[in-house]
Amino acid sequence: MTTGVSQSRTIGHAETVMGTVVSFVVHPGALSDAEVHSALARACRTLHDADNTFSTWKPQSPVSRLRRGEATVEELPTEVTTVLGLCERAKAASRGWFDPWAMPGGVDPTGLVKGWAAEQALAELVQPGVPAAMVNAGGDLAVHDRPAPAEPWRVGIRHPWRIDALACVIEADAAVATSGAYERGEHLIDPHTGRPLTKAASATVTGPSLAIADALATALVIAGAEEIAFVTALAGYDAYVIGLDGSELASDGIRFAPLA
């Protein structure tokens, strides 16, 4: 970490939405503060719109109505069709380990929506021309370009057991999503059986799309490291898995950042 490359000014924002905190780092470049804040406001609006559309906790959300059979996909906002299309892609790519249609209570795209929404938010920042930006949606990150030519975005991967530690730091140039069953104590469901299953302590997926990476990370933490090939079979996607025994496995495209 030489000095001089990371001192360019950044503008930040943290938004509470989708049951988490979504934070932004923006390198404004030639844009004025007002232009950046305007783009941030639009980005936050897309997040709240996504929450209102896709939340399974809000009884009147379009997806809740879909789940109860009160509306068909055709009657709902087009974003629902878009997201369900991405869910189909992720289901096929993950060989069924990600399957929103196998969830109890009806179709549940939650495992992909947060990543998708963060991508939409990032697009709102890229559109007016920010040179570099990062959106961190509660641990799922989408980045645009890099802070400086010689300085990639560095993303810490949470250690699955040591909440005070990182497992590693990787360099990111698009999307990074991590799933784990830690802290929340939630049960991940094996779509093939409908039963709880977690075969990895933590699974991180990197790639061009955060929506897909988010879904595949969820799938991989259920399926375990032996299924890592379903990620690496996709062009541009890589995975880093920490097993239940603490073993680590990373595909070739994961770039670990130096620790000093």
């Binding site: 503008i11 932004f24 780092v25 990062m134 909440i163 005070d164 990182l166």
Partner: protein
């Protein structure tokens, strides 16, 4: 105003501190947080960060600033409720302490005991900018960041 918001952002973005990771691996987690003084290495880091972050006015004139404190909102963190007390001097966070912590189960207390010194370290060293974000779900860190944010809001930082 822009550089002020940046401080708040980095807190939320970076749940666990890189510098703190290196320094805490060998020490047992402690829930009791030091209220006065910090490790010399951390202080040095902060000073370095302070030296490289532009002041909002762009002025280089040294000024004497009074330390001010506020207690942030109580935030749910998945196992209980926590709130923090933040001390600032000018635009810089000088200290973050736990004001209140409810962690009903022993496991939760252990989790919080491990997390909180780390999060504090992250807040205090956030300006170093070595890591842009943390990947992986974390309720504790979100609650902590939100409470810090609300304390800063009260201080009009």
């Amino acid at each position: 105003m822009a550089s002020i918001r940046r401080v708040v952002l980095v807190i939320a973005a970076a749940a666990v501190g890189f510098i703190g990771v290196l320094s805490s691996h060998t020490s047992a987690p402690q829930l009791a947080l030091p209220t006065a003084g910090q490790p010399a290495s951390q202080r040095k880091q902060q000073q370095k960060a302070a030296a490289t972050s532009a002041s909002p006015s762009g002025s280089n004139t040294p000024v004497v600033l009074i330390a001010r404190s506020a207690v942030g909102a109580s935030e749910q963190y998945g196992y209980g409720v926590l709130s923090v007390a933040v001390t600032v001097r000018g635009n810089r966070i000088e200290d973050v302490r736990i004001n209140a912590l409810q962690a009903p189960e022993q496991y939760s207390q252990q989790l919080a005991a491990q997390a909180i010194p780390m999060l504090r370290s992250e807040v205090l060293s956030a300006q170093s900018g070595r890591i842009s974000g943390i990947s992986g779900a974390s309720y504790t860190s979100q609650a902590y960041a939100q409470s810090v944010q609300s304390a800063l809001d009260k201080l009009h930082v």
